[in-house]
Symmetry: C2
Subunit: 254 residues, 2 copies
């Protein structure tokens, strides 16, 4: 009997050309590309399990996903072999073997996302794939105040598209750091877990608040009403990047 | 008689899809796109004069170029009208009217370029268009030492491709700042003016020095021999970006 190894991959991708992480028939997806590539390398079809499903157009510099294989290739050989076959907009940054019961989604202690806004009058070519363009000047102080409202354990049902789907909509936002970096407004959000579209809908509200089109009080209302209200601005996908998934017990180099 | 105004443009572009700044028949160039776009907006063919000619694949976030026009459009209207027609990889950040004798190239007091290197074992998708990939670990301290050799007024004939073309090959490097930012090694070089390919050839040497494949003494030799020697490593175009052209008398907002 050949042993089965579970391999965890640390993955970076530019989401521009993909219909999201999750595999779907007939359209390009990150999971689809990765599963095809593992098949090329090992000769066996695999099912990949990701830490989180990023939306169409969302990027990642630290997605994590696992697959099981009977191949005897070492993790570092997998890195080289997979990168050799992958398209230039997907890369394996690192790989390691994990225990058979490791679950990339359930074992994650927390996730970190970054949302980048270009805040100047003219859309700039060099950041157009990675930053959402907001030409009118944002009020950063008021946005930072709004962030404080969101930190902590709350029912975030008003910040997702999945009413009726997600049974439990309570999540804990561990921190939101928002600040200016030159022409950019960068927002780093970490939570134990996120609801679908939660970061984009959070940033959608923050931008409205920064433009003076929404009051901070509205955020309290959205949290208290927990999904009953339907006013839900959403920020575009291409400004979002999954930066890191944290585990207690995984051996990536970085 | 209608007055002729000279308009200066502050331009950002991603050079990936272009055969450089300078107009050439039958291939896409930044100058060609800009001249076509001014023609669309004003109905008149113009000649654009840039501060510097960037190579094929080189980016810019602060290129400057001028054109003369009889159009009565204000500079801010030019910004909007040109951006409306330009492809997404070229944008006008700002425009202002300048004196008739203003010369974007000759009046420049100094230029600032940034060269970005991704220095980690695996090529990453999110930076692949803007950073040159060097998988082996660079010795930053030795590279910084090497930078000091280059600062000042020297004959940089060994750092250009234009022997016989450029009569005067003495330039003054005002400063080189080189440092690590996460996985990146970023090098900011400013000079009164640069010879063709000077930054790419300088970084080509710095990378060889950082890899232990060239001695710092070789830089002294290249400066002293001033073009007689032919060992000239060159760093790829896509890591380079023209950041800023400095003038004493131009009214861009930023």
């Amino acid at each position: 009997v050949v042993g089965i190894a579970k391999i965890a991959l640390l993955i970076e991708y530019e989401g521009t050309s993909y219909c999201g992480f999750q595999i779907q028939k007939g359209v390009p997806t990150i999971q689809g590309e990765l599963e095809n590539t593992v098949l090329k390398v090992t000769g066996k079809a695999v099912r990949l399990h990701g830490a989180g499903r990023t939306d169409a157009g969302v990027h990642a510099s630290g997605q994590v996903a696992t697959f099981e294989t009977q191949s005897a290739l070492s993790p570092s050989t997998f890195v080289k072999a997979l990168n050799f076959h992958l398209p230039t907009d997907i890369a394996i940054k690192d790989a390691c073997q994990v225990k058979a019961n490791f679950d990339a989604r359930r074992d994650a202690l927390s996730r970190e996302y970054r949302y980048t806004i270009l805040n100047r009058p003219v859309l700039l070519p060099l950041s157009r794939r990675f930053a959402c363009f907001v030409p009118r000047k944002l009020n950063i102080n008021v946005m930072c105040e709004a962030c404080e409202v969101l930190v902590g354990e709350h029912d975030f049902a008003s910040f997702t598209n999945s009413e009726g789907k997600a049974k439990h909509t309570v999540r804990t936002i561990l921190g939101i750091k928002l600040g200016e970096k030159g022409d950019f407004v960068v927002s780093d959000v970490s939570a134990n877990a996120f609801l679908p579209q939660q970061v984009r809908r959070t940033v959608g509200c923050l931008v409205k608040i920064g433009l003076g089109e929404m009051e901070i009080e509205e955020l309290f209302r959205m949290i208290i009403l927990a999904g009953i209200e339907t006013t839900k601005p959403i920020a575009p996908a291409h400004g979002l990047c999954l930066m890191k998934v944290n585990y207690s017990n995984i051996g990536f180099e970085k």
